[in-house]
């Protein structure tokens, strides 16, 4: 088989599946460790620290810049509204992008855990967004939605059940 033929074969979507087994097949045979509440809470705390650190630094720069520019009260209100919206988008975007791409936020990567679909595949952005919304609802009743992790067979919280996801160990996840 020539090099050109190999390159063409690599570009064919079906050809990749012949090299690596489908995610569902892989997870059906390989033992997977489901991750519990404490580890996930530590990872989430790290993510929250990163999110808020970046947000605080950004807000500090913006506030300092605006402090030397005389603006009206109305414009100030609009600026605050824009800032709040940006913060929400930043938080949502942070989780949705990381879950949809690598399945690992920086906090997850540090603790070597990964969010996957229940069949072991990668999450789509829509399902990641649904998971984030469900995560928010799970946190509202005094974090009761997370207590499900303690008793569920696959250590799933409310948001995992809603979005049909699981959180698994990712040994060597730092590189993948």
């Amino acid at each position: 088989m020539s090099v050109a033929a190999r390159l063409r074969a690599r570009r064919v979507p079906g050809a990749a599946a012949t090299v690596a087994p489908p995610a569902a097949a892989r997870t059906a045979t390989a033992p997977v460790g489901y991750v519990g509440l404490v580890t996930r809470a530590v990872a989430f705390a790290l993510d929250a620290a990163i999110i808020n650190l970046v947000a605080l630094l950004t807000a500090a720069v913006v506030v300092l810049a605006l402090s030397v520019i005389p603006i009206s009260d109305a414009l100030r209100t609009v600026t605050i509204a824009i800032g709040g919206t940006s913060y929400v988008l930043w938080v949502v975007g942070y989780f949705v992008v990381f879950w949809s791409t690598t399945g690992q936020t920086p906090g997850n990567r540090l603790l070597r855990i990964r969010v996957t679909a229940a069949d072991g595949g990668r999450l789509r952005p829509r399902r990641s967004l649904l998971r984030f919304v469900a995560l928010t609802f799970a946190a509202i009743p005094l974090f009761a939605g997370f207590l499900l992790i303690l008793v569920d067979g696959r250590r799933r919280g409310l948001h995992d059940v809603v979005a049909r996801t699981v959180v698994v160990d990712a040994p060597g996840g730092r590189h993948g």
């Binding site: 489901y34 519990g36 509440l37 580890t39 603790l111 303690l150």
Partner: protein, 211 residues
């Protein structure tokens, strides 16, 4: 064993008379002892004069710069290099040098030199001398030193070593935190199941299961 003069055998009276007669016959004027002494003095004077003459010649030669010319000539001809090359390319040279360095006698000699009080005093004198202080101060003040330090600090090998050290430390911390949090997971689940009165589904190691 010393023999007393009185016990030495004396020549017979007839023998002494015969020797005196022969000496008188050979040297009737008695010049032989004087001639011998004169020859000794002449030899001594000749040696002294020759020595002075030789030293004068050497002094003249040194003063004339002849040795320098000879050395320059040897160096210009490449003779010294040739000799050094011959010695260094000699296959047995390395072997002999290695044997010399590895010989126990060399080791013993080196040990004795290093353990001696004289060498200790010498090192202490060198270290306490003003020369060392001045040299160290000059080296520290030189720009070349700090340029070299900068070059070393910027070298890929050093930066890679520092990076890997930092990454290794982060990995270690992450592993430790991960292990402890997973133990906490298992403990919390045991507590929850005990409170609910439900036994754990399987006594699997913490954090493991089949998808």
């Amino acid at each position: 064993m010393r023999v007393r003069p009185s016990l030495r055998p004396r020549p017979a009276a007839g023998t002494v008379g015969t020797m005196t007669d022969v000496r008188t016959l050979i040297d009737p004027l008695g010049l032989w002892p004087r001639t011998t002494r004169l020859a000794g003095r002449a030899e001594h004077a000749a040696l002294g004069t020759g020595e002075r003459l030789l030293l004068a010649v050497v002094d003249r030669a040194v003063a004339s710069g002849l040795p320098r010319q000879v050395v320059d000539r040897l160096l210009d001809d490449g003779l010294a290099e040739h000799i050094a090359e011959r010695v260094l390319t000699d296959p047995g040279f390395e072997q002999r040098a290695a044997a010399l360095l590895e010989s126990p006698q060399t080791g013993h000699l080196l040990e004795r030199v290093l353990d001696s009080e004289a060498s200790e005093r010498l090192v202490a004198q060198v270290l306490e001398s003003r020369l060392v202080d001045v040299t160290v101060a000059r080296v520290l003040a030189s720009d070349e030193l700090w340029t070299m330090v900068d070059e070393i600090a910027r070298s890929p090998a050093v930066t890679e070593a520092i990076t890997s050290q930092g990454a290794g430390f982060a990995d270690q911390v992450a592993d430790e935190v991960g292990a402890r949090s997973r133990n906490a997971d298992a403990w919390l689940e045991r507590v929850a199941h005990r409170m609910l009165g439900r036994p754990l589904a399987a006594e699997a190691p913490p954090g493991t299961g089949l998808a």
